[in-house]
Amino acid sequence: MNLLLSVEGVRVNYRTERGEITAVRNVSFYVDKGDILGIVGESGSGKSTLAYSVLNYIKPPGKIISGSVKLEGVGDLLKLGKEDVRKVLWKEIAIVPQATQNSMNPTMDVKDHFIDTMAAHGQNDKQKILETANRLLEEVKLDPQIVLSAYPHQLSGGMKQRVLIALSLVFEPKLLILDEPTSALDVVNQRLIMDLLKALHQKMGISIIFITHDIQLIKGFANKVLILYAGKAMELGDVNEVWNTPLNPYTIALLKSIPTLHGDVNSVSGIPGSMPDPYAEITGCPFASRCKFAKPVCFEKDPDFLEYKPGHFSACHFSKDIGDNYG
């Protein structure tokens, strides 16, 4: 009914000279219409890989081993050929890359970027393209008069990121995926982008997947959150519920590692240890070696990602106990 995207058991491997590493381990999640889903993960969590595998856009040496990505009205994107995926891209789903990662052509001005993108999908009417560009640039609070004829190097990081957002909206996709759109920006520009996305979400009814390493950005912005660790989905649920009654030890530890302005400084602490070696074979839960709740079973059996409360999923052998204790 309300389901827009459902991702089931996606697994992505990378072949390297030293062996195969698993970047995404059987991750499942879903996006309802009108959702803003925050995907949170630290380095090595596979969050970017996950985003690009949703679009069936993993380049070798990476490979999607299994899973399905069902988009409402389209079907399983992982079963589509390259050409068919390309048709879906931009029109149904659009991805906004990081502005820092050479995502714009330095020899083209912003206007050409719009023309290029839209022409590649069959829209050749220049007048129409310019109208769209004008409207969307205004939407992201940029002055089209100035920006349309600007080259990428003339734009600041924050402006570039906003141009990329405007570009992604040209065919009014139902779902927008943003890969760390704010991590290279300072606090002021960060706020600006978040406010802007929120406004677009309300005005255009677009659903958003927002990928970030910074869990603090999610609260007050997203309504749902998916927490990844070492390529595994640890917890998924309503943002406030996850914040107030987390079911997964990793989430608990992560939230406890963020200092606050008024809380007791002795109640927060970093998570000891470090991310498991990607080359090492993980038999149990990838977080077990750093988890203070860990029992022998955690090192032997990888916990399943289960729904403990309606819409609230967690992958931990002890999520039920944790849930009961938290009340």
Partner: protein
């Protein structure tokens, strides 16, 4: 000597004494210089902790570079133990050079990619005759242990084999290896994963506890600054905006009762 009499007793006894320090950058094609640091005055005593908070572009990094001797101020007095840092010579300079160290924001750039961890850490120990030559490896090992890394797993590694958090621990070990009196930590955990940040901050505080190291902790994150100061037993919070120190005082006092508009704005921007 005149200088000492001029600035008085506080300048003489302080570890660090800054009086009206400004840094201007001449920029080609601009008629006015860029004012990065604008008339900053503060002092630090041995074993004291301070946190310098401000947004990017506020001049906090430049001020940090003045402290460690990398950026000569355009005007004002920057004194270390009562002597102008940028006029130090001979023995006094060497003492300063050893006493004031920096932990850089970017642990990926701060380690030489061509050197193993041992090769990065050993030269400073040798340079300052901190250990006998034959004991260098043992000393490097115990430094690694101090920063929570198992020596046998790290000592012969190259930086590209380590994660950001591990690299930053190495950088902390290197800065502390010469037993400095004051360390400027410039956004030391900004590029580190959230879950690892506090462990690295705690590491800095351990050296304060064990060796009485003073710190100037530079960050854009008010809550992190508060954590650093309170966990370390208290200290002063300095708020910087557009090159000026707009507010300075005890951390709890400033956070609970901010006077300056900008401080209030920074506090409000922290989501809780």
């Amino acid at each position: 000597m005149d200088e000492l009499q001029e600035v008085g007793i506080q300048a003489k006894t302080s570890l660090l004494y800054f009086d009206n320090v400004s840094v201007h950058f001449e920029i080609k094609g601009m008629d006015k210089p860029l004012i990065a640091v604008d008339g900053v005055s503060f002092s630090m005593n041995d074993g004291e902790l301070a946190a310098l908070v401000g947004e990017s572009g506020s001049g906090k990094s430049t001020l940090g570079r003045v402290v460690v001797g990398l950026q000569k101020p355009t005007s004002g007095k920057a004194l270390f133990r009562g002597k102008d840092i940028y006029k130090l010579k001979g023995k006094a300079f060497l003492e300063y050079r050893r006493s004031v160290q920096l932990v850089h924001q970017d642990p990926y750039a701060a380690l030489n990619p061509a050197l193993t961890i041992y090769e990065s850490l050993a030269p400073a120990l040798r340079r300052w005759n901190i250990v006998d030559k034959k004991d260098t490896r043992k000393a490097v090992s115990s430094m690694l242990e101090f920063v929570g890394l198992r020596p046998e797993n790290y000592i012969d590694k190259y930086p590209n084999q380590l994660s950001g958090g591990e690299r930053q621990r190495i950088c902390v070990a290197r800065a502390l290896s010469v037993r400095p009196k004051l360390v400027v930590a410039d956004e030391p955990v900004t590029m580190i994963d959230v879950s690892l940040r506090l462990s690295i901050v705690d590491l800095l505080l351990n050296s304060k506890k064990q060796f009485g190291t003073s710190y100037i902790f530079i960050t854009h994150d008010m809550a992190l600054a508060r954590y650093f100061l309170l966990k370390g037993g208290g200290g002063k919070l300095m708020v910087m905006e557009n090159g000026k120190l707009v507010e300075m005082g005890d951390v709890e006092e400033v956070i609970n009762n901010p006077k300056h508009e900008y401080t209030k704005k920074l506090i409000e921007s922290v989501t809780e």
